[in-house]
């Protein structure tokens, strides 16, 4: 089952959506010929066919709204529909980023409120909502650490420590800011190796980037000690808040000794993942690092009015075209207001309970990477018995209608399978998933070929990625 491309649906002369002539007096277009284009080779497909085309294409996806999607570290929880309805209000969707402030007070108030709410939830002193995604939040955070170290007269600190379990964006970001990346090993319990940390900490270290809880789904048993050691050596601690869904109302990241942290609104705060974006990120900082946050912010004047403040001389500057992904901030605001104080803890408790329930039940047939209470996700290390690899298990899950977990990440766990159920699933869904995983484990023994050739029921089978990369076909 494949779908034609728009270029294959194109018929010269097909009527498309027309705009009509404006009602100003007619005037010949007198732009010099050499500045104009000769032809415009876009496909010609009528509206009915375009709508059918993209609707049919959409059905080739699985999504949160259609299937259980326990993709680890991505927090694929239900996205309330009211979020989208609020972002689509004409007063939200239809306002221009540069309008006079007196004509956008409602929008500014929302941004201000989200800044404030995230500060309270995370315990930090100030928040900027301009980063477009988690990776840009990381970029902001590392630029801020650099600026803060320079402000302390510590320009010679050129190295950043990053645990071996970290997401690839951490080292990539540190490199973008010009830092040398030093990999920090984990200990057998999945914590930062404290001895290695102490050995590496010296006057060349600008800071540590640490994911809390870690990508192993674990809360570091010596978290406070880790922060303390880094601080004592003159370093700053960057928190990757991708896994904040484990900590709402459980612990404030600031209290764990983090100096600056990004969180992902598209994970914890239910803005849609959109097939890979838009993301949206909040970058939060202590009072020492707050002056370096990216501009602009929303501030409230003494007259009660809200305004955009881009006049921060110490700021690392502007990272995006305007003031962040406002449409996502409306969604996050709507969601956080519905959570309220009691909802915060309820979310994380259920997310963590669900993950531990899966850990306990799946351990029957799968190795658990670290056999201790996990946080919002559990990392498995492949099947207990030989027979099939993690990739084959994942592909077989597709046949049963599940989006597989994140696989082969974190890199430090062999045959890793990172499962994050989130809090929005019923026990029945979790039980059905467990039964399927156990069935697949049996199939791996009985008929390993069935797994190696999976999936069998999807629109296409395993695709030849090697040939695709060798001879890239990147447009029609």
């Amino acid at each position: 089952m494949t779908e034609a491309l728009l270029s294959e649906l194109s018929t010269p002369g097909r009527e498309t959506i027309r705009i009509g002539r404006p009602n100003v007096p007619a005037h010949a277009i007198d732009i010099p010929r050499e500045l104009l284009r000769d032809e415009l080779p876009l496909p010609e497909v009528g509206e009915p066919e375009v709508v059918r085309h993209f609707t049919r294409v959409s059905r080739l996806n699985v999504s949160i709204d259609t299937n259980f999607y326990p993709l680890g570290s991505c927090t694929m929880k239900y996205n309330p529909k009211v979020n989208d309805a609020m972002a689509a209000l004409p007063g939200m969707r239809g306002i221009h980023p540069l309008q006079p402030e007196e004509t956008v007070q409602g929008a500014l108030q929302i941004i201000h409120a989200v800044q404030e709410l995230i500060a309270r939830i995370t315990g930090f002193d100030a928040v900027s909502l301009t980063p477009a995604a988690g990776a840009q939040g990381e970029l902001a955070g590392l630029l801020m650490i650099r600026a803060a170290q320079h402000a302390r007269g510590q320009e010679h600190r050129r190295r950043v420590l990053i645990p071996d379990s970290a997401h690839g964006t951490n080292p990539a970001t540190a490199a973008m800011v010009g830092y040398e990346v030093v990999t920090l090993p984990s200990d057998p319990r999945g914590n930062v190796d404290l001895e290695a940390l102490e050995d590496l900490l010296d006057e060349t270290v600008a800071g540590l980037m640490i994911t809390v809880p870690s990508t192993l789904g674990l809360f570091d048993e010596a978290m406070l000690r880790v922060s303390e050691l880094v601080h004592r050596a003159g370093g700053l601690v960057y928190g990757d808040g991708a896994n904040l869904n484990a900590l709402l109302g459980i612990a404030r990241p600031r209290d764990l000794g983090l100096d600056v942290m990004h969180s992902n609104l598209h994970k914890t705060f239910t803005t849609p993942h959109g097939g890979g974006g838009p993301g949206s990120s909040a970058i939060a900082a202590t009072a020492e690092l707050a002056p370096f946050l990216p501009i602009p912010f929303v501030v409230r004047g003494s007259d009660g009015g809200y305004r955009l403040d881009a006049d921060r001389p110490a700021s690392i500057g502007r990272l995006g075209s305007f003031q962040g992904h406002f449409g996502m901030l409306v969604r996050a605001y709507t969601y956080i207001r519905m959570l309220g104080t009691p909802g915060l803890r309820e979310v994380s408790e259920a997310a963590v309970l669900n993950a531990n329930y899966l850990r306990s039940r799946l351990s029957q047939s799968y190795r658990v990477a670290h056999d201790r209470t996990c946080m919002h996700e559990v990392v498995l290390a492949g099947l207990r018995a030989n027979g099939a690899r993690t990739l084959d298990v994942a592909k077989r899950l597709l046949d049963y209608g599940y989006h597989p977990p994140t696989i082969y990440f974190p890199l430090v766990v062999p045959e890793a399978m990172m499962i994050e159920p989130t809090e929005t699933e019923t026990k029945a869904t979790l039980d059905a998933f467990v039964e399927t995983m156990l069935t697949i484990a049996q199939e791996a023994q009985r008929d390993p070929e069935l797994l190696r050739t999976a999936p069998h029921t999807t629109p296409v089978g395993r695709l030849d990625e090697a040939t695709a990369a060798r001879n890239p076909v990147l447009h029609w």
Binding site: S58, Y357, T458, A468
Partner: protein, 451 residues
């Protein structure tokens, strides 16, 4: 809590499976001194309550549609066909994630492949990625690409590139100690002129970044700058407006090596500045330094056509600190909006939009220019934006317009101190003659000019 479906009985039975007395015991690893803090974020609102509250906040905003409105400056008010929104709200697109499992993500992958192809068709460029965050990050990533490709450390950027893009460029490349040279804008004989751009290009220049049309709306001949750049071994980066390509010679035809743009004009809501979609394209032989997600065609064992994320050896999840960028997402859902907009309009529709923009802007400039104390300082030809200068601070003029219910232009003094009396005005296909006439009357009154 409506989104946490576990019942008490289910919770108890799960705890029993775990052999735990309560959910609190799941968190014993967290130091007691920081565990379960007091956080007050207010009461939990029902959906009905939060809807009323957000609707009340929306009422405090004045939407750009349905009123005389002349702001552009990087975000543009266009007509958006209803089908664009309908397709973007398909939750198969909006609630999936990065297509790590291609067999169940062919929807996203095929759409991204089509988006890449449409942007290549539009720009005349050979390769386009699956998108970056916005116009600013597209420009910054283009510059980083040029630095990697040439090994040089000098960037020449036109002052006619959006000021916010230039600020983002500075934030991105600043820490590397790059020599960033910006041309100057002056007003001579009542006309804006850029000086020092072509002169700044030398054999240490990694790239020169120019905007077509410029931030002031002017359409220029790019041949001289690009020729000199290529002779000096540098790369030409063109920042374009996608709507203008309904009429104008595209970056590929100018000989651009990298093309970058804000994709918002292609059917994306203004939404107070985001989410938008950054368009980034390049020559085929530069693709291994192009950052971000790229989708390619592939086949399965039975020979069926499919699509995959490809050339991933460039990316952070494989290359870590040696990656081309730290970018990990694209603006996929927004790129669907742009792709469906281009598909719905087709070549004739896009050309009509571009022509209508030009016609209305031309009419507005002619009418405003006829006021004695108003000068149209953007040289002709321009596309759908132009700058005017009056004897009064632009802020005062805008305030007077607002009293008439008119949202005026971008106050150029915010980014160009020497242009304190200049306003950048934009007209598009949704701007009516009546709205232009009301603007002209209000400007005449505000500046006190006859004519």
């Amino acid at each position: 809590m409506a989104f946490v479906p576990l019942t008490d009985a289910e919770r108890d039975s799960m705890l029993e499976t775990l052999g735990l007395p309560s959910t609190d015991t799941l968190f014993e690893v967290i130091p007691e001194s920081v565990r379960f803090p007091d956080i007050d974020i207010g009461p939990a609102l029902t959906e009905m309550e939060v809807t009323a509250q957000v609707e009340a906040l929306a009422e405090l905003n004045r939407p750009a549609y349905g009123a005389p409105f002349f702001l552009g400056a990087g975000a543009y008010r266009h007509f958006i066909p209803a089908a664009v929104g309908a397709l973007m709200s398909r939750s198969e697109f909006s609630t999936s994630y990065t297509p790590y499992q291609p067999e169940v993500s062919q929807g996203t992958l095929q759409m991204s492949f089509e988006f890449q192809s449409l942007i290549c068709d539009l720009t005349g460029m050979e390769v386009t990625n699956a998108s970056v965050y916005d116009g600013a990050s597209a420009v910054a990533e283009a510059a980083l690409m040029a630095l990697r490709l040439t090994g040089r450390e000098r960037i020449v950027v036109s002052a006619g590139v959006h000021p916010h893009y230039r600020q983002a460029l500075e934030a991105y490349v600043g820490p590397r100690g790059i020599d960033l040279v910006t041309s100057e804008i002056v007003v001579e004989n009542g006309t804006l002129r850029e000086i020092g751009l072509v002169e700044a290009i030398d054999d240490r220049t990694a790239c020169c970044i120019v905007s077509q049309p410029t931030f002031f709306g002017e359409i220029r001949d790019l041949a001289e700058a690009f020729d000199k750049l290529h002779a000096a071994g540098g790369l030409a980066v063109e920042v374009y407006n996608p709507t203008s390509l309904g009429l104008l010679k595209p970056p590929g035809a100018w000989g651009a090596d990298i093309a970058a743009a804000e994709g918002q004009p292609l059917g994306i809501s203004l939404s107070f500045g985001g989410p938008y979609v950054g368009l980034l394209s390049c020559r085929r032989d530069l693709v291994r330094q192009l950052p971000g997600r790229i989708v390619g065609m592939a086949k399965d064992a039975e020979g069926r056509r499919g699509f995959v994320l490809t050339l991933q050896a460039r990316e952070q999840h494989i290359r870590r600190e040696k990656a081309t960028s730290n970018i990990c997402t694209s603006q996929t859902l927004i790129s669907l909006g742009a792709a469906s907009y281009l598909a719905l309009l087709g070549p004739s529709g896009l050309r009509e939009v571009a022509e209508a923009c030009w016609h209305v802007a031309r009419y507005a400039a002619d009418q405003l220019g006829a006021i004695l104390s108003v000068e149209v300082i953007t040289p002709r030809p321009f596309f759908h934006e132009f700058a005017i200068r009056t004897p009064h601070p632009a802020r005062d003029v805008n305030n007077r317009l607002l009293e008439h219910g008119i949202i005026g232009g971008y106050e150029l003094g915010r980014a160009y101190p020497e242009l304190e009396n200049a306003l950048l005005l934009c007209c598009t296909e949704v701007t009516t003659r009546e709205q232009v006439d009301s603007l002209v009357a209000a400007v005449r009154e505000a500046v006190g000019g006859g004519g």
